[in-house]
Amino acid sequence: MIKKAFLILLVAFTGYVFFVAASARPFGSPRVVVSKRYLEKGLNETGSQNIVTSVVVLYRGFDTLGEVTVLFLAATALAALISGFPFERKERTEPSLVMSTASRYLFPLILLFGAYIFVHGHLTPGGGFPGGVVIASGFLLMFLAFRKYRVSEGGLIVTEGLAGFFYVLIGLIGLYLLGSFLASFLPPGRLHTLLSGGIIPLIYILIGFKVGSEMTGILRSLKGEDENG
């Protein structure tokens, strides 16, 4: 009890110090040092209308490669940990007709919407990560609506493996052609149109596929499909 009280006091005190420290720069007036350049030059330098996207994919693109790797790692570790788990199959009733019919019509629309989000990542809010998650949510809907719905493991592995590999490959092409990893070797294109942003749309499409297949893979592992197929 005393230990707990002490811990609470300690965390509260540290939080207060942190608050004082953060308040040294009041809310609403961010210190833009590096971002200044992104805002001023980003549009012409990268050709991407959405500056957040150009920060994510180009300026801090190496982080994003790492981020994709983290998700891949989680999917891998999760599949390794869950393998051999005795999933209990409880008898469930089929979902209602309304549910299954609606899902069947919604599913392609959800996939289309996900694809729209990641293809337009350099023009509108969104991009590879949200797009991929939307796609995975479509698969989740199908898992819920149909007891017998299956996704083949091979398809997921091929999609995520190749998408990841091509992502690194694009980076290496930049290294080879322009001397630095993930350099944009394509022209910025016509601003504000779909074909702009150099390698940004390319990478976001790959990320979309990769995230979509990884999230679906995570759902699939947690559903326990390997054991009682």
Binding site: A22, S35, Q49, N50, A74, F129
Partner: protein, 114 residues
């Protein structure tokens, strides 16, 4: 000042509450909830440090003076994805531990003593 308390204060408080939950609770699921709260607090903090008064999303064409700082938004995107990954892995651990030990109480595993 009031804004500082509302935005910085609440996000730091959320992170602190999450930290306390993660450190003091015994139930694994509650610990994972605590970790997520902490994550959310940090993400809120990141978003609020990049906000510019009267600003909007940095997607052109908007006047430069109206764009919020794009970097924290990119960081939050990364942090969210990492948070999802950790949560998924933690829940898998919870499932397996429940299978092996028949409990989610981590103090019952062995001894938490150092």
């Amino acid at each position: 000042m009031a804004e500082n308390i509302i935005f910085y204060g609440s996000s730091i408080a959320l992170a602190a509450i999450g930290l306390l939950i993660a450190l003091t609770r015994r139930n694994l699921i509650k610990i994972i909830i605590g970790l997520d709260l902490m994550e959310t607090g940090v993400n809120m903090f990141l978003i609020s440090i990049g906000y510019r008064r009267g600003g909007t999303a940095p997607i052109f064409d908007i006047p430069l003076s109206k764009a919020v700082d794009p970097v924290p938004q990119a960081l939050v995107l990364t942090a969210i994805v990492i948070g999802v990954a950790v949560t998924a892995l933690a829940l898998t651990f919870a499932v397996r531990i429940h299978e092996k030990y028949g409990t989610l109480d981590i103090s019952k595993l062995r001894e938490m003593k150092w």
